[in-house]
Assembly symmetry: C2
Homo-oligomer: 153 residues x 2
Amino acid sequence: MKSPTELSEAFRSQGRKLTPQRQAIFDALDGNPSHPSAESVYDMVRVHMPSISLRTVYQTLNDLTEMGEISQVDLGLGSARFDPNNEPHHHLVCSGCATVFDVAVEVDSPLPDLEVPAGLGDGFVVDSTDIIFRGMCARCAAGQQPTDLGPVP
Amino acid sequence: MKSPTELSEAFRSQGRKLTPQRQAIFDALDGNPSHPSAESVYDMVRVHMPSISLRTVYQTLNDLTEMGEISQVDLGLGSARFDPNNEPHHHLVCSGCATVFDVAVEVDSPLPDLEVPAGLGDGFVVDSTDIIFRGMCARCAAGQQPTDLGPVP
DNA sequence: TGCTAATCAGCAACTCTTGTTGACTGGCTC
DNA sequence: GAGCCAGTCAACAAGAGTTGCTGATTAGCA
Ligand SMILES: [Mn+2]
Ligand SMILES: [Mn+2]
Ligand SMILES: [Zn+2]
Ligand SMILES: [Zn+2]
């Protein structure tokens, strides 16, 4: 994702208005590695802007997704997660606390969009590859400190 | 998934009753590679058993999942898909028609549960790896013949 | 300054899935 | 063969997550 300043420019140059609500959402996402849900973004922004509505948060997150500034990832948790990291990467998902970590793709790895073995899906053209590693994060593997995030559905 | 006959035994031996509804669901899933949703199973079974309820279909699919006979996979389509294929494998998902294909894991591949590169998620213990290849199936890549399945959400 | 997008509150609605209740049926065991 | 009780059914309600809609108000930007 671009910086909040650059995003402001991008919004204006596309004829979208730059509102305080949108700026607050830019700030909440900037450098945020937590893969927040819409509700989480809502909670973050509400601290400094109690009047913002959840509807507006969804709207702006969808705008940013359309613009390609963030991506919306479905990790099999109950809700969509939003990801400002635009580098190609994959995800670790903790089954204990639902925390999500990024996994950088190694350049020499055979993981990304490569041909799949022949089979029933012959002729399938792969556009993208999503890899989800499920397991336990260090905290959850050690002992079960109670966490804010609920357990995985 | 075991054969319908074996499943019938498994149900009885676990104190679960063998009802015609359950048998019809066994039959619908047996050797079925389509990764049906609960609604799809419902539609398949209803052809020969119009009185079955969707509630019962969900119930039995959950029973089979608990027993480890099938797995419930979340492929980012609007609903859960049920998979009687218990061999370790991954999935191709067509963005055009939402068809799902199995991809067998090659034995010499570095794809399955291996250690992930060091990073923020240090100490993460990987239990399972889900890989979803997204793209276009041969049919959809060729021309757009209208398909029964709706487009991907 | 004015046009118009954006926001808000306050809803309703939608999809998928599970819960509930009360009545009934039919597997399974003895 | 009889009886217990799991299973099923209909007919709902409800929950979560997300989107839609309304009408009124605000405020960004030209
Ligand atoms: Mn990420
Ligand atoms: Mn499969
Ligand atoms: Zn954890
Ligand atoms: Zn297709």
